[in-house]
Subunit: 404 residues, 2 copies
């Protein structure tokens, strides 16, 4: 059987770990499987490379950052191939462009346009384990691009789809997807199965579990994704199309985020087209605006609040300076001390009483709700950053999600 | 004017140095020059990558080593481009394959087959400084190859030729080519001009000054090469076609080597074809055999000695084990404690008295000569490794090469 595995940065963080994975892969190969193995950069390599760049320039160009960062996965890929060869398994490492990962030109956040797996298939036919450098591709200009943080997951799922496997396996440093972040909630429970949609909403665990874009890609192509531990040999959580076997309208998990900031625009003229003029420059700059709240208009003016990733704050405030001048907005303020907690589950928004219960639980715990946002499968509250861990626990207990 | 520069590992060894070079390049750009800049990996990066590989495997495959090592120059190239952009100079970094450096498939020691400079020209036309990752190329299989140690010099000269510049400038941590290694001989003198041939024989300074293959390439295409300091703004040494302006038959410099080993094969059957059977496997393995000495045959048997780079000893001894069995050679021994000292100058071999003077100077200093080898422009002696520095000084003084 053809298997597509992905190993994250901590899974290949040391020489010892790379060797252990190679031994495991050797066994799978011996059992008659073909293997395509996507690797992230070792441990903190990507951060170290970014630090180097920042020492050179405050604003390194995305094109050069991509050329720089893509080396991290090229290194771990070559080392993994060497480790395989060292235990007698024929192997070959391929960079993104060698593996046929074609992307758009959006450096630093490139999206995969197509995958040409012919080189991979050729190497598999020669009996080789194919190790692919994750997180990277090549655009029409023949420039190296990267897919954004966690992009190796996307590489793996894209290859799984292009190669037609039944599921793509993502090996990481957690055992699967939990009802809440197990670092915060002691009795958080591992889920056996979860829908793509729910997984996306549980993105608070994202950085450690799965890259969102990979889940979306899996969803579109209906590619099953199993998230499991690199270090233990047991089943993980399978992300797949929602099915009848799970009761709907139940809270499945508690998501949270801390690395966000709330930006508030005060006294904005309330007329058609204004929101577009505010959010278009942010969108053009690739800033992902999350919850947007617009208060009721008073005398033709309104206040608008929204949240963005904390890393994008400087860029956003710079862009909003122009918007402020052009639209005569009275004040642009920013609060970096906010967090978000959400309950996630298919159908919960339309189920009476669930939202009220959530607000009640938070209120009883003395946690003030700053903003509320909902989607079909999620109810989220923006709260004080310091209250996030308490809120997650209160909701996890309140909705009875813990291990019995 | 179009300039082709190359900066070695120590020249780009720190962030500060990269920034300084960028400032210098910015001035040259401002003066109206176009620039192609070849960079080596920062400082010890290549060695660190090799160390990583060795922790994974005792015998990492050359193909994967190349994939690994080529990242070093990709990193320094991207950083140099960022540094240029940071001082307001449009720049772009290109890997070997992006720069159109096509090589054969001999991983780790690939030779450049052709250069397609179209991407470079396109970027120059856009007004950009083009930074090229040295030391690497791509072969017909679309695999990344490296050109061997010091290959960035070869990249620079090859690009100089392909782009039709008048000379290629190699910036390094020494001021030029000296009459002897200035670390060993205090009053060694910088040469203004030297022939390709003499430069090749002065290869003892090679690791610090120039890669031999680059000199050969320059020679074949008659590309002038200037070796000069990265840190000081003064003329270096120009390597070019020998000309009348220099008197011939004079010792121009003293070369030496320490990183060699002498291998001796005892009691070898002396018949036609034997030497081929001994040296072919070494050649096939890419081992560069230097001086070969065969003693007079006694009763149909002879002894053969030769020197090789010390790094190739293990591989050579392994290969010679087979040869020993097949050819019934009595003993294969190895002496790693040898060195070589040579006098270099066009015409010296055919000038009476020069060789005798050399042997006399060494003898007076109590230095024993183990083997002698000569070429048209060089007389070399294999001696005890510990005597090398003394020998270089004795010969440098004896032939009156020092600064007045």
């Amino acid at each position: 059987m053809l298997l597509v595995h992905k190993y994250g940065g901590s899974s290949v963080g040391t020489i010892e770990r790379i060797k252990n994975i190679a031994k495991k892969l050797a066994r799978l190969k011996e059992e008659g499987n073909d293997l395509v193995v996507v690797v992230s950069a070792m441990g903190d390599t990507t951060d170290e490379l970014i630090d180097l760049a920042k020492k050179i320039s405050n604003r390194p160009s995305p094109r050069e950052l991509d050329a720089l960062m893509s080396t991290g996965e090229q290194i771990s890929g070559a080392l993994m191939a060497m480790a395989l060869e060292d235990v007698g398994v024929p192997a070959v490492s391929l960079t993104g462009w060698q593996a046929g990962i074609y992307t758009d030109e959006n450096a630093g956040r490139a999206r995969i346009r197509s995958v040409d797996p012919s080189r991979i298939k050729e190497e598999l036919k020669k009996g080789k384990v194919v190790v692919v450098a994750g997180f990277q591709g090549i655009c029409d200009q023949n420039d190296i691009t990267t897919l954004g943080r966690g992009g190796s997951d996307t590489t793996a799922v894209a290859l799984g789809i292009a190669l037609g496997v039944e599921k793509t396996e993502i090996f990481t440093d957690v055992k699967g997807v939990y009802t809440a972040d197990p670092r915060i909630v002691k009795n958080a429970k591992k889920l056996d199965v979860i829908s793509y949609e729910e997984m996306l909403e549980l993105a608070s665990q994202g950085a450690r579990v799965m890259h969102n874009r990979a889940v979306e890609l899996g969803w579109i192509y209906n590619m099953k994704i199993e998230v499991k531990s690199s270090f233990e040999d047991e089943p993980g959580t399978i992300i797949q199309e929602v099915s009848e076997m799970e009761p709907v309208s139940r809270v499945r998990g508690i998501a949270h985020k801390k690395d966000i900031a709330k930006i508030t625009l005060k006294h904005v003229l309330d007329k058609p087209g204004i929101a577009h003029r505010i959010f278009k420059p942010l969108g053009d700059a690739g800033i992902n605006v999350d919850d947007i709240i617009q208060n009721a208009s008073e005398s033709g003016y309104t206040d608008i609040s929204f949240t963005i990733p904390i890393d994008d704050v400087d860029k956003a405030l710079e862009l909003l300076e122009n918007v402020k001048r052009e639209l005569d907005i009275r004040e642009v303020s920013c609060n970096k001390k906010v967090g978000k907690v959400s309950i996630v589950g298919v159908g919960i928004q339309s189920t009476p009483g669930i939202a009220a219960k959530m607000f009640g639980l938070l209120g009883e715990a003395g946690i003030n709700i700053d903003m509320i946002s909902t989607s079909e499968i999620k109810i989220g509250c923006i709260i004080n950053e310091d209250d996030v861990e308490k809120a997650v626990n209160v909701l996890h207990d309140g909705f009875g999600l813990g291990e019995e």
